[in-house]
């Protein structure tokens, strides 16, 4: 079986998922949408998100994220990124002017 994983769209919003987003998310180069709105995802976002260069939307509205957005995502080679949604979390720190 010549297995390959396209994983273009994963939306698991409006659930009760816990834990952190693992660094392995950086191994999903074809990911276009990652939707985890309305969950209990905690911790900081991994810098490996910068490797998800196909991302169009990253949606984490209403979770328990802490810390600052990883600097690396400001330097990610995104082709079509249009929405970073982090409303209603516990984020802190500064936002890069590169946006």
């Amino acid at each position: 079986m010549n297995a390959f994983f396209l994983a273009a769209v994963i939306d698991m919003s409006h659930n009760k998922l816990t834990g952190t987003l693992r660094t392995e998310v950086g191994l999903m180069p074809n990911l276009i949408l990652l939707g985890l709105n309305q969950n209990d995802i905690s911790g900081t976002l991994p810098s490996e998100l910068a490797e998800c260069t196909s991302l169009l939307e990253l949606a984490f509205w209403n979770n328990l994220l802490t810390g600052s957005l990883p600097k690396e995502i400001y330097h990610g080679d995104y082709k079509q990124l249009s929405a970073l949604i982090f409303d209603t979390n516990f984020l802190s720190g500064t936002i890069s002017c590169k946006f």
């Binding site: 994983f5 834990g19 693992r22 998310v25 191994l27």
Partner: protein, 133 residues
């Protein structure tokens, strides 16, 4: 062969006899009032690529048999899986989902999923990276 009946007034369960429709490539029964468990017999439909059961009242969790069996179908496997908005389906994400190597679109919104995002979900994507390297 496709079976679509979205947004109708269907109720009751998906009959197990659906397994005899062996040429089914797509099943779309979203926005109905279907109940009962999602039959694991769907896993025998080796040509099935698209399964949309969004917005119903299925119970009993995400059957591992479906994910497992479909993942084991060498030439096929689901591309599109939508089980969103089945409020009676509470479950965790089965780790077998990592075996669904053709999956492109996964929708599991609003089904009271608990637990963490399993490592397996990321694990198969590593193969993706290798394939496209």
């Amino acid at each position: 062969m496709i079976l679509t009946s979205d947004g109708m007034l269907l109720n009751g369960t998906i009959p197990l006899e659906i397994m005899y429709l062996s040429n089914l490539q797509a099943i779309s029964l979203s926005r109905n009032s279907l109940t009962g468990p999602i039959p694991s017999e769907l896993g025998t439909l080796s040509k099935l690529r698209h399964l949309d059961l969004e917005d119903n009242y299925f119970t009993g969790g995400i059957p591992k048999e479906i994910v497992d069996i479909l993942a084991g179908v060498a030439a096929s496997g689901l591309v599109h899986l939508d089980l969103s908005w089945n409020p009676l389906l509470p479950s965790s994400i089965p780790t077998e989902i990592g075996g669904m190597s053709n999956l492109e679109r996964l929708f599991l919104n609003g089904i009271e999923l608990v637990g963490t995002i399993p490592y397996e979900l990321y694990q198969l994507s590593r193969l993706g990276k290798n394939s496209f390297a």
